[in-house]
Amino acid sequence: MQIQIKSGITLTVIPVSQFKNTQVSVHFLEHATKKATSYRSLLANILETSSQKYENQILVSQELSRLYGAGFGTSVMRKQTVHDLAFSLSLPNDHFLEKSDRLLDHGLDFLAEMIFHPLIKNSLFHEQTFQRQQTNLVAYINALKDDKQSYAALQLQQLYFGKDEIQSTPTFGEADQIAQITNQDLFDYYKKVLAHDRVEIFVVGDVNATQIQTIVQKWPLSERFDDNTDISPLSYPEKQIHQKTEVQSIVQSKLDLAYQFPTNFRDSVYYAGIVFNALFGGSPLSKLFLNVREKASLAYYATSNVDVFNGLMIVQTGINAADKEQVLAIVAQQLKDIQAGDFSEDHLAQIKTGLTSNYIASLDAERSYTSRALTNRLVDSQTSTKEWIAAIRKVSHSEIMAVAKQVHLTTSYFLSSEVKEHA
C-alpha cells in the first residue's frame, strides 16, 4: 500500500503476518556524486550514535532496550547513480509481549528523534562526536584493506569504471575525503539532505497503515520537487582492456575479472541475464563452481555476480599464484561453452529451479520485502512473484547463448602472493 505523504515523500506499507517483528526503514535518496558519497557516509555514522534526547550511546542503546532489543542502524548504499542513506529499525510486534504498549509508535518516535534531532551544540554537530566518528570511519575504511577478498573487488571496481567518478568511488566514501570534511560543511549538508532528498519510508509486518501514516505525517519534512533520482538505461563505455597486478605478502592470491554485461534492470534480456549468471558462476550448481573448484581443485571459491544496474558482471576467485593462467583459461572456456550452447537442458532446469526457489525463500526474510519495494519505487515498475517465476521459466537455451555472446571481459585485477620472475 502506497501513501504519498507530501510531494517527494512516500510511505509504503507492506502487510505480512508471518513475522513476529516489524521492520521500518527510512531512505534519503539523491543523485550520487563523489563528494556527497563521503559526506553521507560520515553523516550515517554520526546520526547513529546520539541525538538531542539521547546524548550518547548509552542512552541510545537503553532506549533500544526499552523497545525490547530493537535493532537500529544507519547504512549507505548506491544503486547505479542513486545514493541511499538509510535508517532502519526492527522491533517486536505487540502480540508477543506480555504488555501490549504500542511499541511501533514508540519505535517511529525514536526514528524521528535520531533523524531530525541530532545532538547539536552551537549550531554544529556536537564537536567531540563529530571528531570521534570522523576518526573512526577513516580508521575503519583503512582497515578494510585487510580483507583481501573485498580489497581485490574494490580494486577491480576502480579499474573497471576508470574515469567514471561516481561508480569508481566505494559506497562508504574515501578516507582522505572524509578526513577533510569540517563540522560546518557536514552540518550544512545534513540540512540540505533533510530539505531536498527524496524520502521513501517502508514498513513491513503485521501492522496498521493508518496508524503509521498519522505518525509519519507529523514528521518535520516539507514537500520537495527537485527529484533527481532517475535510474536510466546504460550507454556502454568503449570496450577497453585493463589489467593490473599487485603483489602483497599474503598466502592466497585473488584473481578478479570484470565483464560488460549486456542487460539493464528488467529490460527484454534481463531474465536471460539472471539465468546466465546463475549458470556461469552465480550458484553452487554453476559451471565455475563445477570446473574451477570441483573438477580442477584450484579454488575454494570461484563465483560470479552481476550488477544489473551498471551492466557489470564480476568473477572472484582465490587461488595459488602459479595457477593464474590455468584458472583464466578455465573461466574463459566456460563462457565459450555457454556461447556455443554447450550446456544440457537438465542443467538449465536445475539452475532455474534454484533461482525460483531462492526467490520464494527470500519471502521468509522481512528485509527482502523492503529492498524489493525500494527497487520497485526506484525503477517505477512492479513484478509479482508469479510474474518473476514465469519469466525465469520462459528463458530459452538460445536466449542464454545470445546473452553470453555479448558478455565481454574488459578488466582483470590480480592480487598476487609472489613476485613473478621474468622468464
Binding site: 532496550s65 506480555e98 583503512n142 584493506k145 575454494y300 582465490g318 520464494i360
Partner: protein, 435 residues
C-alpha cells in the same frame, strides 16, 4: 511424538527419539515458504583422539579430519549429493565447528525427497582414494584463504594461548600439511565412530506438517540397519581446565593496516551441561552485556577515550569440554585496552550491585533479541545444541531469562572472572611495510 507448546509465541515443537537413537525435532512454521533442515553429529574438530568403534586403543587422526569428512560426504558412488539436491530445488550446505558437524538443506518444494537425500547421503559413506586426493586442493585453498584473514588469525592466536594442550587450538580445517596425511581409512574410522544415529540430531523447521514429516523420516530410517551404539570415547588432551599451561601474552606481525588485539579469559571453573549449562551460558552473556555492552558506562568511557571503537566485541563461547570469554577489537592503544578490560573484570563485584535498573532493561533486550531469532528458521535450527544444553531450543530461553536475578550474576562473576585464565594476543602491522 512429544509435543511442547509455547503459547506466548504461538509455536509448537514436536520431538521424538527413534528406535535407532536418532533424535528428531520438528517445528512447523505457518506462513513461511521454505523448509530448513539440519542433520548434525556430535563430532567436531576437537575429536581427533578417540577409540575407534569396536576397538580398544586410542588413535590420533590428522588435524582437520572432521571438516575433511564433511567435504567428502557429498561425493557418492555415481552421484554428487549437491547435484541431487539441486535437481530437487534445494540449496545444500554443511559446516564443521569445534564440536559439531552439520549437514543442511533449505527448499521450498519436494521436502520429502530432499529429506530423503539428506538422510541418505549422510548415512551412506563412500570414500575413494582419487576423490580424497582431489579434495586436498580445494580444502588447501580454504585454509590459505583463512591464512590471510587477520581476524581468524587473532581468534586462533588466543585459543593457542589459552589451550596449548587441548585440540581446540588447532584450526578446524587443519593445515595443508595435516590434511595431506588423511587417508580413506581414516575417514571410514571416524565415520563409523561418530555418525551413529544415536550420536546425531535431525531438526526440521518450516512449512511442514509434523506428523507427515515424522512418518517420512521413520520410513527412511526403517530401511537401514546400524550397529549397536557405543558412546564415542574421546581424549581431549591433558589439563583441560587448568591454567598452568596458559601462554600469557603473544605478539605477532602480519600484513595489516591496524593493530588488532584480543584478550582471552579461559574458564577455569567446572560448568554444568544440560539445561543448567544453558542457564550458565545465558547468565554469562547477560553479565558481559551489563559490563561491556554498548549501554554500559565502561563501554562509553573507553569509546570516548579512543581505546575501543565500533570494531570492539566480546564473546562467550561454551562448548563441549571448554569455555572462555574473548574481547577483541582494532585499537591503536593495545596496552590501555588490555589494562582497561582487566580492571573492569577485577571491579565486577563493585559495579554489579549498582546495575539493578540496567539489569531489568537488559532482560527486556534479551527477550527482544530472542523474538528476532524466532523469525529466522535458520536461527531456530542452528542454535539448537542437542545434549550439550539439554535439547533446548530458542523458545526455552525466555523463561530462563525471566527467572534470572542480579544476584545470580553477582554469584557467577567471581567464578567466571578468574584472572588466572587471563591472556592476550596481538597482531601488529609488519615493520617497514604497508599492506
Amino acid at each position: 511424538m512429544h509435543k511442547r507448546v509455547y503459547k506466548q509465541f504461538n509455536e509448537t515443537l514436536y520431538s521424538e527419539t527413534l528406535t535407532n537413537g536418532l533424535r528428531v525435532n520438528i517445528l512447523p512454521k505457518k506462513g513461511f515458504h521454505k523448509t530448513y533442515s539440519t542433520f548434525s553429529t556430535n563430532f567436531g574438530s576437537i575429536d581427533r583422539t578417540f577409540i575407534p568403534l569396536g576397538q580398544s586403543d586410542y588413535v590420533t587422526q590428522p588435524a582437520g579430519i572432521a571438516h575433511f569428512l564433511e567435504h567428502k560426504m557429498f561425493d557418492k558412488k555415481g552421484y554428487d549429493a549437491f547435484d541431487l539436491f539441486g535437481k530437487y530445488g534445494a540449496d545444500a550446505n554443511a559446516f564443521t565447528s569445534f564440536t559439531k558437524t552439520s549437514y543442511l538443506f533449505s527448499a521450498t518444494q519436494n521436502i520429502h525427497e530432499n529429506l530423503d537425500i539428506l538422510l541418505n547421503f549422510v548415512q551412506e559413506p563412500y570414500f575413494t582414494k582419487e576423490s580424497v586426493a582431489k579434495e586436498k586442493g580445494i580444502i588447501g585453498q580454504e585454509i590459505q584463504m583463512y591464512d590471510d584473514d587477520p581476524d581468524w588469525k587473532l581468534y586462533m592466536g588466543i585459543l593457542g594461548n589459552l589451550y596449548p594442550h587441548h585440540p581446540v587450538h588447532l584450526d578446524i580445517a587443519g593445515t595443508v600439511a595435516s590434511i595431506a596425511e588423511i587417508t580413506v581409512d581414516d575417514l571410514y574410522t571416524a565415520y563409523q565412530t561418530f555418525y551413529h544415529p544415536a550420536n546425531m540430531d535431525l531438526f526440521v523447521v518450516g512449512n511442514i506438517d509434523p506428523e507427515e514429516t515424522l512418518t517420512w523420516i521413520k520410513e527412511n530410517q526403517a530401511k537401514k540397519s546400524f550397529m549397536t551404539f557405543e558412546e564415542p570415547k574421546v581424549k581431549l588432551g591433558t589439563r583441560e581446565t587448568g591454567n598452568e599451561d596458559i601462554t600469557k601474552q603473544k605478539i605477532v606481525e602480519m600484513a595489516v593496516n591496524r593493530p588488532k588485539s584480543v584478550i582471552g579469559l579461559k574458564g577455569l571453573d567446572v560448568v554444568p551441561i544440560g539445561v543448567a549449562g544453558l542457564s550458565y551460558r545465558l547468565k554469562a552473556n547477560l553479565l558481559l552485556y551489563l559490563l561491556f555492552g554498548e549501554s554500559s558506562e565502561q563501554y562509553l568511557k573507553l569509546y570516548d577515550q579512543g581505546i575501543i571503537d565500533d570494531t570492539f566485541s566480546y564473546e562467550f563461547d561454551m562448548e563441549r569440554s571448554f569455555h572462555y570469554i574473548s574481547f577483541s577489537g582494532d585499537t591503536d592503544k593495545p596496552t590501555e585496552f588490555i589494562e582497561a578490560i582487566r580492571t573492569i573484570l577485577q571491579q565486577a563485584d563493585q559495579l554489579l550491585p549498582q546495575l539493578e535498573s540496567q539489569f531489568e532493561l537488559a532482560k527486556k533486550e534479551m527477550l527482544g533479541r530472542l523474538l528476532q531469532r524466532m523469525d529466522s528458521i535458520e536461527a531456530i535450527a542452528n542454535s539448537y545444541e542437542g545434549r550439550q544444553f539439554g535439547y533446548t531450543t530458542v523458545f526455552d530461553q525466555t523463561a530462563i531469562y525471566e527467572n534470572m536475578t542480579l544476584s545470580d550474576l553477582t554469584l557467577l562473576a567471581p567464578k567466571l572472572f578468574n584472572l588466572d585464565g587471563f591472556s592476550t594476543f596481538q597482531i601488529q602491522p609488519m615493520k617497514g611495510q604497508k599492506a
